[in-house]
């Protein structure tokens, strides 16, 4: 018997998007496979690594722990939506490039979304707070020093400092 399909409509990075999917389709797979937005990465699929983090109505969530059908109607921001208005790198992305905050880049989409949301509420973190902000994201190659530096640099860029 074919699995029943559900129409799911989301606003993704400001654009209305939709697809008919089975109820068990994870939001992470919905974004990647059904919408072709492969920026969101999938590491562990049990909430631990943070690679799949997206913003749901502005708040960071694990897209691997949500069914697309559950969040029907919501606004989602992925790493593709973290670019600047002119289409270039957004401030958080720019900071990661400036500070060598990535090597293979697998974990990076989850860091970018997490840090984007964090800085909105905490625009001027210190070193310790920056470390805390990324406590739920794992990186297997870069080491966290450069990522912490990237968070601080992103805050600086967002405050308008060229530094």
């Amino acid at each position: 018997m074919a699995e029943p399909m559900h129409e799911v409509a989301l606003t993704v990075n400001g654009v209305p998007r939709g697809a008919a999917v089975p109820a068990r389709r994870l939001l992470s797979d919905f974004l990647r496979h059904d919408l072709g937005l492969t920026g969101t990465h999938v590491g562990c699929e049990h909430g631990v690594c943070g690679a799949c983090t997206v913003l749901l109505d502005g708040e960071p969530v694990r897209s691997c722990l949500l069914f697309a059908v559950t969040v029907d109607g919501a606004e989602v921001t992925t790493v593709e939506g973290c670019r600047s208005a002119d289409g270039g790198l957004g401030p958080v992305q720019q900071a990661f490039q400036d500070c060598h905050g990535l090597q293979c880049g697998f974990c990076t989409p989850g860091f970018i979304t997490t840090v984007t949301a964090y800085l909105r509420e905490n625009p001027d973190p210190d070193q310790e707070q920056a470390r805390d902000a990324i406590g739920g994201n794992l990186c297997r190659c870069t080491g966290y020093q450069n990522i912490v530096a990237s968070v601080l640099r992103a805050a600086q860029l967002q405050r308008g400092g060229a530094g």
Partner: protein, 299 residues
């Protein structure tokens, strides 16, 4: 891995959810925040035939911070509870220790309690404050014309709610609609402390202590609640180690020693039993002293 297929239900009201749960019986599961259930589905450790998604039941999203108790609806997320200005310190501190912000944005307080993980914070807090869970079910009795119109509620005290690891008193046809956290008595203080290997991990041991003083600032009662040292949240009466003494003269190490002797942790891959016992000793002493300071400030 990917979750197995299931029939998806998205009721818009408690009544509708209860009717669906009653029909699905043993084959049905409630989907709240999904932060415990979806990992289990992704790993195919559970395979329910029906999922009843309660995320559209807006009537279950509330924090009612009354003078006697704080009532938390089943759709209230960890992050919402922690942000609420009327929530007692113990609840806020312990909730802040649950996982990471991205998990707390989605996971629910009530879901965490129903899930009954012996390492989870909220079940221990509920036990320490002698709280309860309100369970609702459809009163479908033969011969009733509209069985879905009647809701039966029962309140289960924390002491009777946690039956074993990942096992609570909720029947398959029941929805937990509310958790009730009574406020501590006047001149009380509380503290929550825990140790985990990495921030946001489940703690090796979490410790909550509730201390109550009399008008002369003598300790009249002290209780510890512990995660990670038993199949359910463990409560230990610490009163005999500290009672009757002026609060400034209490040796909280005595409470730690008493607690360490009362718990029966087991070895697992995360820590030995002896190490967990040592955590109970140290965290009890520290949390007791912190709770006492708060009780002094309270009156």
């Amino acid at each position: 891995m990917k979750p197995p297929p299931f029939v998806y239900h998205r009721p818009a009201s408690v009544v509708a959810a209860l009717a669906t749960l009653a029909e699905a019986g043993e084959d049905g599961k409630v989907l709240a925040g999904g932060q415990s259930l979806v990992p289990l589905l992704n790993m195919r450790l559970t395979q329910p035939g029906h999922l009843v998604d309660i995320n559209r039941i807006r009537e279950l999203s509330y924090v009612d911070a009354g003078s006697d108790a704080v009532r938390v609806g089943a759709l209230t997320r960890h992050a919402e509870l922690a942000r609420h200005p009327g929530v007692p310190a113990l609840l806020r501190e312990a909730t802040g220790c649950v996982a990471h912000p991205a998990i707390r944005n989605r996971g629910t307080t009530v879901g965490s309690i129903v899930h009954a993980d012996p390492a989870a914070e909220l079940p221990a807090v509920l036990a320490l404050l002698r709280g309860s869970v309100t369970l609702a079910s459809a009163a479908a009795r033969p011969g009733r014309a509209r069985p879905d119109q009647e809701i039966v509620r029962r309140s289960v005290a924390a002491a009777d709610f946690f039956l074993g690891p990942l096992t609570s008193a909720v029947r398959p046809d029941e929805l937990a609609v509310e958790a009730v956290f009574p406020r501590p008595a006047p001149r009380s203080g509380t503290a929550w402390l825990e140790l985990s290997r990495r921030k946001g991990d489940f703690a090796l041991c979490g410790t909550g202590v509730l201390v109550t003083l009399d008008e002369d600032r003598r300790v009249t009662g002290a209780t510890g609640a512990y995660t990670g040292v038993g199949p359910v949240p463990v409560l230990v009466e610490l009163t005999e180690a500290v009672a009757g003494r002026p609060v400034d003269a209490v040796d909280w190490d005595r409470a730690g020693t008493l607690a360490a002797g009362a718990v029966a942790p087991e070895d697992d891959i995360h820590a030995t039993a002896a190490y967990r016992r040592q955590l109970v000793r140290v965290l009890s002493a520290r949390a007791g002293a912190a709770a006492a300071r708060m009780a002094v400030a309270d009156g």
